[in-house]
């Protein structure tokens, strides 16, 4: 046998090489994402090449600059009409540039900016060994309590890697609500999840708890990703494509030609139903809906508080954006199938979050359950399946994210010898000792509770109104009952702060740097402005509330 013949057993002669079609990329429209990714890469280089002392300032500057530039790009796109008249699908069908995308990207970027301010706070703890320290561990790789760790602290290490990690996460978050096919959806989910798993593990105090939280988050996140991916596979089997528009066409029957390769599976409704349920599950996990919420309290409690604020705000915004797009662009044709199920989940989420929060004794866990309840309220707007549903959810997300970051920023201020004093009993009488901080926190709590003249009321009113008009009156009733239950534990904290005697060995309130002050200040301003004069922003949200398909 000739050498050629032998060879031909496992190879075959190549034909003439086809020219690879260069993909058509709309760089300008993708600029918000590209800027952030680029800055993240530069951030890695900074870690590699800059002297340790200079990194903090360089990273904070770079991160803030990137976020601001990206936000400016979003504004520019919105100004140019990409949110209204010039909506388009960019990057070969992978990314949708439309109103919801730009609105949510803007919200994510603003929330991230505020969150980065809290990341960069270095005045809460006293200096140790001549170094200013922040909320993050000295050296992530050092085993908690080990000699190694002590040395790292002594050497004044700080984990400035958090900034590029955050930028990567932000990049993922920016793509997530814009993803216009299932694979982009999955990849952006992983792009923001992986840095977040890491960030969760980086708390300076209570490191074991932080690491436990990160591992749990990672395990459960991976578990849910598996479901999501499997759902995507089934969906591909059903529709023969991962592109949203095409799936939607197959769902509502406007495409009947069957791809011969998928002749056995295409158009099989079981695949559609199971696949969509699994994809939904993956997204519901990220928004923290019952019964996929169980990671939330543990992770929120264990993660460094600034990271918690970031996750609670930005991740929720992105995840709801993706959920909206999935339900409104891909699956509107089968809303009869998913609406009853989503009803059940919404009710369980609203009630579950509110009820379990009542017996919490840790402020971070309390806020975690509160975020679950709020996820339920937002879901009520999501399943309205009306344009008002979209715009109310967009508004709610914007309002909620600032309250959340602000609230977690306040949590970082209340400290005792062991770091943050998160046990509720330690907050007793805070209003007597630090009336301003307590008053600010009270504003946030009132906003969470949805009291009028705060953004919480405007948002809740908008989603409930949309839900009621969308034919979900019963849901609104449950929502209002949940709000009543939730009001109990919010008000309880206010009562605790203002009407209890302060304890003798109670925590002190640290005086933060201008960074945290700005974060909290923005939270208060947005909360009050959106509460007192919400109309402009409601109009903005309703202009932005149309998806491109």
């Amino acid at each position: 046998m000739s050498a050629t013949a032998v060879h031909s057993l496992w190879t075959t002669a190549a034909g003439p090489i086809d020219k690879i079609q260069a993909p058509d990329i709309e760089y300008a429209q993708l600029a918000p994402v590209l800027i952030v990714v680029g800055a993240a890469v530069v951030g890695l280089l900074v870690e590699a090449f800059m002297p340790r002392k200079a990194r903090y300032h360089a990273q904070v500057f770079l991160t803030v600059l990137a976020i601001v530039a990206s936000f400016a790009a979003v504004l520019g796109l919105a100004e140019a009409g990409y949110g209204t008249t010039k909506v388009r699908i960019a990057a070969m069908g992978a990314i949708a540039i439309d109103g919801p995308t730009l609105f949510l990207q803007g919200t994510i970027l603003l929330a991230s900016l505020v969150a980065v301010f809290t990341f960069a706070e270095r005045k809460l703890d006293p200096e140790t060994h001549g170094t200013k320290i922040d909320s993050f561990v000295a050296q992530a790789a050092a085993v908690p309590g080990s000699e190694n760790e002590k040395q790292a602290v002594k050497a004044g290490f700080t984990t400035t890697e958090v900034y590029p990690l955050t930028l990567f996460a932000i990049a993922g978050l920016l793509v997530f609500p814009a993803a216009n096919d299932l694979l982009t959806l999955f990849i952006s989910l992983e792009v923001f999840s992986l840095p977040l798993y890491l960030l969760c593990a980086l708390a300076r105090r209570k490191r074991l708890m932080s690491q436990e939280a990160a591992v749990k988050y990672f395990l459960l996140g991976a578990f849910s990703s598996a479901f999501l991916l499997f759902g995507i596979a089934l969906m591909y089997g059903y529709a023969g494509s991962v592109a949203y528009a095409r799936i939607a066409d197959v769902v509502d029957g406007s495409i009947r030609t069957i791809d011969p390769v998928l002749a056995d599976t295409m158009g099989n409704d079981a695949l559609l139903l199971i696949g969509s349920a699994m994809i939904l599950m993956g997204l519901l996990f990220k928004v923290g809906a019952v019964p996929f919420h169980m990671w939330t309290p543990d992770v929120y409690q264990g993660a460094p508080t600034p990271v918690t604020g970031f996750m609670a705000a930005a991740t929720k915004v992105a995840a709801f954006g993706a959920l909206l797009r999935l339900l409104y662009v891909v699956l509107p044709g089968m809303s009869w199938d998913w609406r009853p199920v989503m009803w059940g989940i919404t009710i369980a989420t609203m009630l579950g979050g509110a009820i379990v929060a009542i017996t919490q004794t840790d402020i971070k866990r309390l806020l975690a359950y509160s975020s679950i309840a709020h996820a339920g309220f937002i879901l009520a707007g999501v399943i309205a399946v009306t344009p008002e549903g979209v715009s109310s959810v967009l508004f709610y997300l914007g309002a909620y994210s600032f309250v959340t970051i602000g609230a977690f920023a306040v949590v970082t201020l209340v400290r005792d010898a062991g770091g943050e004093a998160t046990h509720l009993s330690k907050w007793a009488g805070l209003g007597r000792r630090s009336p301003l901080v307590a008053a600010v926190f009270a504003v946030f709590l009132l906003a969470f509770a949805g009291i009028p003249l705060t953004s919480g009321f405007s948002g809740k009113f908008a989603v409930f109104k949309a839900a009621a008009e969308g034919g979900a009156g019963a849901l609104v009733v449950v929502g209002v009952i949940s709000s009543a239950i939730a009001a109990f534990f919010y008000i309880r904290v206010i009562v605790l702060m203002f009407f209890s005697e302060p304890k003798a060995d109670g925590p002190t309130v640290a005086v933060p740097s201008v960074m945290t002050k700005m974060a909290i200040g923005m939270g208060v301003v947005v909360t009050v402005v959106l509460g007192v004069a919400p109309q402009y922003f409601l109009n903005l949200a309703s202009q932005a509330g149309v998806f491109v398909r």
């Binding site: 199971i274 996929f292 169980m294 998913w338 009820i355 017996t359 919490q360």
Partner: protein
């Protein structure tokens, strides 16, 4: 010209803002600034009045819209003003008398360390009262209405360190609240009926509305008027309100604020004209209060409370006149204006007497003051002659018109009302003569004050006497000026309308009867208090049952206590019982069960990643099953 209207209000409002927020640095000039701004308002008012005189009758009304206040769907309210003949009459009265009383207060409050604040409140009152009469819709009127209530509350309780003053302020506030509820309900009814609050559309579309609704609105407006104008059954606060500084009593609780109810009824004349039942109730309220106040005024030994009873009674006259409909509107307002002059003058005189008598208010401890305070005596005396209706003075004309109008109502009703107003005139003459005699005539009955000093009565400073003199001029000449040639009637008729009614007896007869009633009252008073042979006892005698009841304000407080307070307490207690057992039971039960549920659900969150994963797995399974099930169904 209409752009000046807002300035009328803005001037005193600015004063209030500066004086109340400006702090100590304005202590030295505060009173001058406040007075100057009140005077500014008066000058602007006078300019607007002069301008109005130059125009023809039909386009005298001015309108100014400042901005859109509330704009929510069908709910529209503007900050807009209307200046017509009726408003300008009030504007001149309020800012004119107001300015005089500001001047008077400079002297009267000289030694009070919170004088700046006092002037701030007075300015606030002026702004609110001007807003009340200038508003072109009921909602804005309500704003002014509440504003004067607030100013009144603050000023009655100005000496808040005295528990009696604090209580009186609270009482005035609470009683007024009842009336204010009436006004707010009336406004709501208007909105549901007419879809707007503006005077023009509301009063213009009365013809298309059912009489029942108009009666309801009218009665609610009357309730409001009763509260603000101290009419039965909401009269109880006025006597106690005399705890405030005397200039306040003169300005707010005699000349201006308490007449707001009359303004409200006259302004809403179209509604009352179309609702005879409501009108009848107005007349009854006016007649009852007229007698009530007069009787109380006869028995009081406290000079300010006697005057307060008189105020109540005189406003009763006005309300009665307003209830007569077009026959009486003009005369109600005319009496209101003349009353503004002489009653303010009387109060200022009383303040002057108190100033000289170590703040003593008990007339039994006065006596023979005419020699010591000649200016006060003469001005007070002229006010006295005016209020009893001495022929030729202001009160004679205005009261006589009301009595004539009451007769002109016609039928039995006319006779009854006419007789009551005549009787009232006699009693007025009696109690005012009593005040006059006890204060300025007879023996000195001066008593040492708490520190043992005998009073040394002296004439008050010029800042106090000059306003009194000016007001005395008004008391003497205003009525004649208004009546001769029917000036006032011709002035207001285009706004309020006029109807001469069916007088059963001639005007001359009525006038004669009035003069007889007056002489009768004066003589009885002279017999009882003026004769040397029967000096006034320093300690009040026990008196008849009626006297004792009248001293207690005809048992108004006792009535309120037994019926409202006790009744309210019983109601509250039973409601509290229901609340504690039933409502709280349900609420606490729910809370306990939710809490219990929470405790149990919380156990699911056990910290193990494996059980979390199971929950997610189970959740997904249910999700898929439910989705499939939905399709199957």
């Amino acid at each position: 010209m209409e752009n000046l209207i807002a300035l009328l209000i803005a001037a005193p409002l600015l004063g209030a803002a500066v004086l109340l927020c400006g702090g100590r640095r304005f202590d030295r000039v505060g009173h001058l600034l406040g007075t100057a701004l009140a005077a500014t308002s008066f000058v602007i008012g006078a300019a607007l009045f002069a301008n109005m005189l130059t125009k023809s009758v039909d386009d005298r009304a001015l309108h100014q819209k400042l901005f859109n206040w509330i704009d929510v769907g069908g709910f529209q309210a503007d900050i807009a003003f209307q200046l017509d003949q009726l408003s300008i009459t009030f504007v001149l009265l309020i800012s004119g008398v107001g300015t005089l009383i500001h001047v008077y207060s400079i002297g009267y409050m000289e030694h009070d360390e919170r004088r700046r604040r006092f002037f701030g409140y007075l300015n606030l009152f002026l702004a609110a009262m001007l807003l009340l009469v200038l508003a072109d819709n009921y909602l804005l009127l309500y704003f002014g209405w509440e504003g004067v209530g607030l100013a009144s509350y603050l000023l009655i309780g100005f000496w808040q360190h005295k528990p009696s003053a604090a209580t009186a302020a609270k009482k005035a506030f609470l009683v007024n609240r009842v009336g204010d509820i009436g006004l707010s309900i009336a406004i709501m009814l208007m909105f549901t009926t007419f879809g707007t609050f503006a005077f023009g559309p509301v009063l213009g579309s009365v013809g298309e509305t059912s009489e029942g609704m108009l009666t309801a609105i009218g009665l609610m407006l009357l309730l409001a008027a009763c509260g603000k104008s101290a009419q039965v059954p909401l009269q109880s606060w006025l006597g106690d309100a005399m705890e405030g500084p005397t200039p306040v009593s003169a300005l707010i609780h005699a000349a201006t604020m308490v007449t707001a109810g009359v303004y409200l009824i006259v302004r809403s004349g179209a509604i009352f004209n179309a609702a005879p039942d409501a009108q009848l109730v107005v007349v009854i309220v006016g007649a009852v209060t007229l007698m009530f106040g007069a009787i109380v005024g006869c028995a009081k030994d406290d000079i300010k409370k006697a005057l307060a009873g008189s105020t109540m009674s005189q406003i009763g006259y006005m309300i009665l006149a307003a209830g007569l409909g077009p026959i009486g509107y003009v005369f109600a307002i005319m009496h209101l204006v003349t009353h503004g002059f002489f009653k303010a003058g009387l109060f200022l005189g009383a303040g002057s007497v108190m100033h000289g008598m170590n703040d003593e208010v008990d007339m039994r401890k006065y006596g023979g003051l005419r020699k010591y305070m000649p200016v006060t005596f003469v001005t007070f005396g002229l006010g006295y002659l005016a209020i009893i209706g001495f022929p030729g003075l202001s009160g004679f004309f205005s009261k006589d018109m009301i009595i004539e109008a009451a007769f002109a109502k016609g039928g039995t009703e006319g006779w009854i009302l006419g007789s009551i107003t005549l009787l009232g005139a006699a009693i007025t003459a009696f109690y005012m003569t009593r005040v006059m005699l006890m204060t300025f005539f007879g023996e000195k009955r001066w008593q040492p004050d708490a520190e043992g000093h005998l009073p040394h009565p002296h004439e008050s400073p010029k800042s106090m006497t000059i306003p009194m003199i000016i007001l005395a001029f008004g008391s003497v000449f205003a009525g004649g000026f208004f009546s001769i040639g029917d000036r006032f009637l011709n002035w207001l008729e285009p706004v309020t309308g006029w109807d001469h009614g069916h007088a059963p007896i001639s005007a001359t007869t009525v006038t004669a009867a009035t003069v007889v009633a007056l002489l009768l009252g004066v003589s009885i008073a002279w017999v009882m208090y003026g004769r040397k042979a029967r000096p006034v006892p320093v300690v009040a005698p026990r008196g008849s049952v009626l006297t004792r009841a009248a001293r207690r304000d005809l048992l108004q407080d006792d009535f309120n206590h037994v019926v409202l307070v006790r009744g309210g307490e019983h109601l509250t207690r039973s409601l509290v019982y229901v609340d504690h057992t039933l409502v709280d039971g349900v609420v606490n039960g729910t809370a306990a069960s939710v809490g219990g549920l929470s405790g149990r659900l919380r156990k699911l969150q056990n910290g193990y990643a494996r059980s979390y994963a199971v929950s997610m797995f189970g959740g997904t399974a249910v999700l898929i099953a439910a989705t499939l099930l939905m399709r199957a169904v």
